[in-house]
């Protein structure tokens, strides 16, 4: 079949301009989203509390202290100017000082973020490793026992409170069976043994060649990572299944079978090959979800990541730290979203 170019719909612009326009549009979208994110955190931090000065200087501060803080925070300026200051500071990597330890929030976040990254990465890895084959099998053998199991696993994953499952996991595997390490990243004897290069203890201990620490760190991370992995598995396997079902009903699959290709080639080369792009977007989204969803998991496992950081700051009313953490998680989230979008557009010709 030949496709005739419709009049007026032919490509009048050169491909370069159209790429430039779409890049421009995408950049605009990202910037608008990030500006919106900053605006919301700004509102939460500066406008919503009844008096942000009192939350810093305390209720018993003298009038002079109050005035000084009021001036220093720029609260005498119009809101829109304050907002510009806020963006200016963040563009320079300045999230203000933590009220708890008087350290710059940005420094704290740089210290805790690798721990979350490590946990979420391993979790996504587990989720992909089990979730994708499970989803494919469930689609290929639709209605069989493996499909039922996949459905059951996903349903439980969607319905179980993650912090509760973490507690029960700790109770069983640490408290009763003693198979895994307890809360924290490493046992108390191994703290600060290996030099911190990336901040991710598994990588650091490997770089140092210290297998004892690596093994200990592994025994500590495996339970929380499996937990996060289970949640990402529930999502990834469901999505893989529905993508695969769509492909398996397509005519080209019948053609491939008629040609006499082996079932393995039909499933993994032909059908799976066509869902790769969609799958990568789903995995990117689930990764972003895990970065965020690790908040509760980190609390349960005393994992010193960004979730613990935000929550601890929250309970001691350290607004700068809370908002700094929220902005960072939000920016990473937006970036992963955009990344998965771009990937889709880049690899899937139908999306163009």
């Amino acid at each position: 079949m030949t496709i005739q170019a419709e009049p007026g719909k032919g490509r009048r612009r050169s491909p370069l301009t159209s790429i430039a326009i779409s890049t421009f549009k995408t950049t605009g979208t990202i910037l608008a989203t990030m500006l919106g994110l900053l605006f919301v955190t700004f509102i939460i931090g500066r406008v919503m509390p009844i008096d942000p000065v009192i939350s810093i200087v305390g209720e018993r501060a003298s009038k002079e202290t109050y005035e000084a803080a009021y001036q220093a925070m720029g609260l005498d300026k119009p809101i829109i100017i304050q907002f510009f200051y806020y963006i200016w500071d963040i563009l320079h990597g300045d999230f203000g000082q933590s009220l708890l330890n008087a350290r710059p929030v940005a420094e704290d976040i740089r210290r805790v973020f690798p721990a979350t990254l490590e946990l979420a990465t391993l979790g996504t890895f587990i989720g992909v490793l089990i979730g994708v084959p499970l989803g494919v099998l469930a689609a290929v053998r639709r209605g069989s026992w493996i499909d039922q199991i996949a459905r059951f696993v996903a349903l439980i994953g969607y319905s179980m409170p993650i912090f509760w499952l973490g507690l029960v996991g700790l109770l069983i595997f640490y408290g009763i069976l003693g198979w895994v390490g307890g809360p924290g990243r490493v046992g108390i004897f191994y703290v600060d043994v290996v030099p911190s290069v990336t901040g991710m203890i598994l990588v650091d201990s490997l770089l140092d060649g210290n297998w004892t620490v690596f093994k200990d760190a592994m025994s500590h991370i495996i339970l929380p990572a499996s937990l996060l992995g289970y949640y990402s598995l529930a999502y990834i396997s469901r999505m893989t299944r529905s993508f695969m079902l769509e492909q398996m009903n397509a005519e080209y699959i019948t053609t491939a079978r008629v040609k006499g290709l082996s079932e393995w080639t039909v499933i993994w080369r032909h059908a799976f090959g066509n869902i790769k792009v969609q799958l990568i977007t789903v995995i990117a989204l689930s990764y972003a979800g895990l970065l965020e969803g690790s908040v509760l998991t980190e609390i349960i496992f005393a994992w010193p990541g960004i979730g613990s950081y935000i929550t601890t700051a929250l309970l001691s009313a350290d607004m700068n730290a809370v908002l700094g953490g929220t902005v960072v998680v939000g920016l990473v989230f937006v970036c992963l979203n955009v990344f998965s979008d771009l990937l889709y557009k880049f690899f899937d010709p139908r999306a163009k």
Binding site: G36, S159, W164, L167, V295, L315, V322, T326, V329, V334
Partner: protein, 311 residues
């Protein structure tokens, strides 16, 4: 046709009236389609299971004072941390000697309270934004959808945390925070539905009769968006319950001594290794209710929204 008609001979008259192919009035058609939806829903045993659990939850919440064997707030330090099946305390007692079963029963009220409030706020806000954006179009659409996208791009739990941090802890603030993060998907759905409806012939007909945009949106577009919204809300309820419990667990939702399930887990967490039931039982309750919502949502989707059967 005759095949379909024969069994009606030995059916009660109300059933054949409900199953008729030729409804005699508008209300007749409405009731008949509801009844047929119910019949197909009833065939889905998993969805029925979910519905039964939720009906039980509502009954338990309503009759909590009659069902609870003890007062959920009365402390009895002599009888603290009693195990399961103790005399008078079937599910044991917590660290202050309060009866866990009674606290779970009263906790059903809090869970329902949160669920109902969020279900009233978020979808309505989303419906409003989505239909206005879809119907009016142009720059209104662009601005509203951009705002929706910004909220959609947010990490939900972290945003809810920040909101609660600014507003202060408490159930109502948790509900507001969850609603603020939950409305964007509804706006998206409502807008998509509106775009497919707005150019249809019956809208033009209503316009010719002189209806203004307000009347068209509220009387002719909203009713058609409702069914897909209901499905989505039911499926989201599980996530909302988990988020509320998570906030309670972090100490940002319901405050002690309130028997909120998430807060109960948080209280029992300190004793998890020695007194496992204190923290695990409320978790089971949360699990059961959100599972019920997931099953019900799946079943409703099959009945109300057949174009997307999830398989």
């Amino acid at each position: 046709m005759s095949l379909l008609n024969t069994p009606q001979g030995n059916q009660p008259r109300w059933r054949s009236w409900l199953l008729t192919d030729t409804p005699t009035s508008r209300n007749h058609a409405r009731v008949a389609s509801l009844y047929q939806g119910w019949l197909s829903f009833r065939g889905n045993s998993m969805a029925m299971f979910g519905l039964i659990i939720l009906v039980l939850l509502v009954l338990i919440a309503i009759f909590a004072p009659l069902l609870a064997p003890h007062d959920p707030f009365v402390q009895d330090l002599a009888n603290r941390l009693k195990p399961l099946a103790t005399d008078g305390h079937i599910l044991g007692t917590d660290s202050l000697g309060r009866d866990i079963l009674s606290r779970l029963i009263y906790g059903a009220r809090i869970t329902l309270y949160i669920v109902i409030l969020v279900a009233l706020i978020a979808p309505v806000a989303g419906l409003f934004v989505g239909t206005v954006a879809g119907y009016v179009g142009g720059w209104v659409d662009t601005i509203l959808m951009r705002i929706t996208d910004i909220f959609l791009a947010f990490p939900r739990l972290v945003l809810a945390l920040a909101f609660v941090a600014a507003l202060g802890a408490g159930i109502e603030n948790a509900v507001i925070a969850i609603s603020l993060t939950a409305w964007p998907p509804y706006a998206r759905i409502a807008r998509a539905e509106t775009l497919t409806i707005r150019n249809s012939d019956y809208i033009s007909a209503v316009k010719l009769q002189g209806a203004g945009p307000f009347r068209i949106i509220t009387r002719h577009i909203w009713p058609l968006c409702i069914s897909s919204l209901i499905v989505r809300v039911t499926l989201d309820m599980a996530g909302i319950i988990l988020a509320a419990a998570g906030l309670g667990f972090l100490g940002l939702g319901a405050q002690p001594p309130s028997p909120e399930w998430g807060a109960m887990i948080s209280e029992g967490r300190k004793f998890i290794l020695d007194y496992w039931w204190v923290a695990t039982l409320p978790g089971l309750a949360i699990f059961l209710v959100s599972l019920a919502f997931n099953l019900l949502g799946d079943g409703l989707r099959d009945v109300l929204d057949p174009k997307d059967d999830g398989s």
